[in-house]
């Protein structure tokens, strides 16, 4: 098995395990957030393996560097030491989980391989900032504008929401 495949499975395993750890850690929210960081970084690694270098960097920068830190910040700000909500209403959750498992299991034969052809070789410049920049600012320039508008709205909204009093 070539090294990139091995790395892929390692990262994938890390991602899944830490994601499970995040979801199942009912005692410590900070630990859950740290698990999420591991997931994000692993996903970033998988992006690198899939030749999406710039996106990988941004993934770690934005998710790892900003979003999860924000979560941690909020946890600390609210000083939520432990997360000990009583596990009520598990019935629904079991039902939903069961449904999901049914779907995923029924999809497993397709997910094992053979549906799609092999991944082809990537052309030069694939995943680099140059190609991505060209795509962003030519074909998708309207999308960029819209998303930037959304971001602006979110900034203003977050400020208003988190402000103690509007004076």
């Amino acid at each position: 098995m070539e090294i990139s495949a091995v790395l892929f499975y390692v990262f994938a395993g890390l991602a899944v395990i830490s994601a499970l750890a995040m979801v199942l850690n009912v005692r410590n929210t900070v630990a859950a957030a740290m698990s999420l960081v591991v997931t994000m970084v692993s996903i970033g690694g998988i992006f690198v393996l899939l030749d999406a270098y710039l996106v990988a960097a941004l993934q770690i920068m934005v998710y790892g560097g900003a979003i999860v830190v924000l979560f941690l910040f909020v946890v600390m700000l609210l000083n939520l030491r432990t997360d000990d909500f009583p596990p009520v209403g598990l019935r629904l959750a079991k039902l939903g989980g069961g449904l999901l498992v049914v779907v995923v299991v029924s999809a497993i034969p397709r997910l094992l391989g053979g549906v799609f052809p092999e991944i082809p070789a990537a052309p030069t410049g694939y995943g680099g900032y140059r190609a991505l920049g060209i795509a962003l600012y030519t074909d998708y320039v309207l999308l960029v504008e819209m998303v930037s508008l959304l971001l602006l709205a979110a900034i203003v909204g977050a400020l208003i929401l988190a402000k103690r009093k509007i004076d």
């Binding site: 629904l92 959750a93 939903g96 449904l99 999901l100 049914v102 779907v103 029924s106």
Partner: protein, 680 residues
């Protein structure tokens, strides 16, 4: 995409200038809500129309100077509507076409329009005391000018329809301009609704034409393309349903008839003429501009513009000719007994329009256009003169309260007399030549019964002379029948009223020499190619085969027309100058026929009984009370609301538990179901 400015670009200025003025007025009235001072309103409105007239002259000049002699200018402003590809492609551009036909129309519209705008300044100044109404009037008038120019300049049927609807709208707005009087509002609505019938015909014709062109793979709405591709569908036929008698009709006949329905509505022909006399409820300049000079000729313009279609549709042409002839005589007969000065002129307009359709139906498109132009001049002159009289008499319109005005309003009297002489066909004036052309065309045509058509036309000519001179005598001669206090204050209106009349009178006299029939050119003036208007129009108008007449016949025909006119004049002189008491006695003796005439053959009443009342009854009893109130409001709208409320309060309320995760669960369950179906 706006194309670069070229020689043709002046075309877009012609309609856009009035539009800009109208838009300015509209914004000031509707959004700013602060009326502009009168002087500014006048400057903008009249300035826009005058500038438009100048632009028309420039365009006309460059049309005659056009190097390759194609007599065609097309200004493609931008792509307006476009859909489909290939044989289903439909594209209508905002494109303006200036060919001889539309150039003549444009010049008439902007020229006469300018004069009437100037006239309106004085007329409306006297009338409306607040600036808002004043500006509103000019807003509508400019909008009308714009629509009318769009109508004549459009290079495709769709854009033309825009103008067609626009002029209808403006007509409605202006007839009901003094909407506080309910009768005026009623007249406006009547004009609008009757016009809808015609518009429906126009639309049907447009759709039918387009779809049949699609069937042969050459879809087009541009006039030139239609003309080019029309040969492909001239042989096509249309199965007629059983209840209409069955059989196969020529497709072009059906299309042409549909368009003619549109023309009938717009140009007030039988049986849809009823709105035009009532349209006289509007201000007099409006009657002059819209309901005499320009808008009502749109139908004639349409038939001439689509002449290539009517030329291959003989049956439709025959219908056009007969409708025109019958309308001409019918309206002329009604006009005899009318006592309202504007009503007489209105019926005269209907009658003259009938003449034009007679000419167009007989294939005399040049004659029709010639008469459109000369009629525009003399009828505008007559209406504006009537307006002057009305102003002088302080808004008195009834002929029975006039008389003897020639002393008090000498200048109005002179120009009005010129107008009357012109319409009556006094030799040498424009009306004589144009009417003569029409009669010649009718006489020379090959459609069945053309001799009858000629006879009706000739009789109408006599009737016209009779009722016009009656009008003139009753207005200007004899003893004044006005009430004493009015009699004291009869004054001739000011310069702004009179000068436009002079200009129009000049054209009414001399315009005929622009389209001098060849026979007079040869016999009297010794000029070759004297009919420059016809020569100018010839390349664009369709040619219908007709009998060639020699000069002798033509001179005899003219003599007959003159005779008819003289007879009409003689009767009028006899009845209203020599024996003024005679008409009343005749009326008393022939009560029933007279009443029939005064009541306009009870057409309005018949329509009311046949169409309006049943429709109103059905609308009220069935459509409103049963379908709207009971079914739609009660069952559909209210029922759904009740159903929703019932299910909500009794059933769905419990799903709203307030637990976000329950909601998320159902959302995910739905997503899972979809994924399951996709993966299955």
């Amino acid at each position: 995409m706006v194309n670069g400015a070229t020689e043709e670009s002046v075309l877009r200025l012609i309609p856009l200038l009035p539009l800009a003025a109208a838009a300015y007025h509209g914004v000031m009235l509707g959004l700013v809500r602060r009326p502009t001072p009168r002087t500014v309103t006048i400057a903008i409105s009249c300035g826009a129309v005058l500038a438009s007239f100048v632009a028309s002259c420039v365009a006309f000049w460059s049309l005659i100077q056009h190097p390759n002699g194609s007599h065609l200018l097309v200004d493609n402003v931008f792509s307006w509507i476009g859909s489909g590809v290939g044989v289903h492609a439909f594209s209508a551009d905002v494109a303006f076409l200036l060919d001889p036909l539309s150039s003549v129309m444009t010049l008439v519209i902007t020229g006469v329009g300018s004069l009437i705008h100037i006239y309106s300044v004085a007329y409306m100044d006297d009338d409306q005391r607040d600036d808002k109404g004043f500006q509103r009037f000019f807003c509508y008038l400019n909008l009308f000018t714009f629509s009318m120019l769009i109508l004549v300049l459009a290079d495709n049927l769709v854009l033309m329809f825009l103008g067609w609807e626009g002029v209808g709208l403006c007509s409605f707005l202006l007839i009901g301009f003094w909407y506080s009087d309910e009768w005026n509002a009623y007249c406006g609505s009547k004009a609008f609704i009757v016009n809808r019938i015609g518009d429906f015909g126009f639309l049907l014709g447009l759709f039918l034409l387009f779809s049949s062109l699609v069937d042969v793979g050459k879809p087009a709405v541009e006039f030139q393309d239609i003309e080019r591709n029309l040969a492909l569908i001239t042989e096509a036929t249309l199965a007629v349903p059983e209840w209409l008698g069955g059989g196969e009709w020529l497709l072009v006949n059906v299309i042409a008839l549909c368009f003619f329905v549109g023309a009938v509505g717009k140009s007030a022909q039988l049986p849809l003429y009823v709105w035009l006399p009532d349209a006289m409820a509007g201000p007099t300049p409006v009657s002059a501009l819209i309901h005499a000079a320009t808008m009502v000729t749109a139908g004639v313009y349409l038939v001439c513009r689509m002449g290539f279609l009517f030329a291959v549709a003989p049956f439709a042409s025959m219908v056009v000719a007969w409708t025109g002839a019958l309308t001409a005589v019918f309206a002329a007969v009604i006009a005899i007994a009318q006592t309202d000065i504007k009503k007489v002129l209105a019926y005269s307009t209907v009658s003259q329009l009938g003449y034009m359709f007679l000419a167009a139906g007989c294939g005399g498109y040049t004659a029709a256009v010639f008469h459109v132009a000369s009629h525009a001049f003399f009828k505008a002159l007559l209406f504006l003169g009537a307006g002057s009289v009305i102003l002088a008499l302080h808004h008195e319109q009834n002929l029975e309260n006039m008389g003897g005005l020639w002393r008090r309003t000498p200048r109005t009297h002179v120009v009005f007399l010129i107008g009357v002489l012109t319409i009556a066909g006094f030799p040498g004036l424009s009306g004589f030549f144009s009417k003569d052309e029409i009669l010649v065309a009718a006489f020379a045509s090959e459609i069945p019964g053309h001799t009858w058509l000629y006879g009706i036309g000739l009789a109408t000519s006599g009737l016209t002379a009779f009722y016009m001179f009656r009008l003139h005598f009753l207005t200007f001669y004899g003893e004044s029948r006005a009430s004493a206090d009015i009699r004291e204050h009869i004054d001739e209106p000011g310069k702004l009223i009179i000068y436009p009349l002079y200009v129009l009178a000049f054209f009414a006299i001399f315009f005929g020499y622009a389209g001098l029939p060849q026979v007079w050119g040869d016999l009297v003036f010794g000029v070759d190619n004297s009919n420059s208007l016809a020569n100018f129009l010839m390349p664009t108008l369709a040619v219908v085969p007709h009998n060639q007449l020699d000069h002798t016949t033509e001179v005899w025909l003219a003599a007959a027309a003159i005779t008819a006119g003289v007879v009409g004049f003689g009767f009028a002189w006899f009845f209203y100058m020599m024996r003024p008491q005679l008409p009343e006695r005749i009326a008393a003796a022939l009560r029933i026929p007279h009443q029939l005439l005064v009541r306009k053959f009870y057409v309005d009443e018949a329509y009311d009984l046949l169409f309006v009342r049943p429709l109103v009854a059905i609308s009220d009893r069935v459509l409103f009370r049963v379908i709207d109130v009971a079914v739609i409001d009660g069952l559909a709208v209210g029922g759904i609301a009740r159903l929703v409320r019932a299910t909500g309060t009794n059933l769905l309320r419990h799903a709203q538990s307030g637990f976000a995760q329950t909601y998320i669960f159902f959302m995910i369950a739905g997503a899972v179901a979809i994924v399951w179906i996709l993966l299955r």
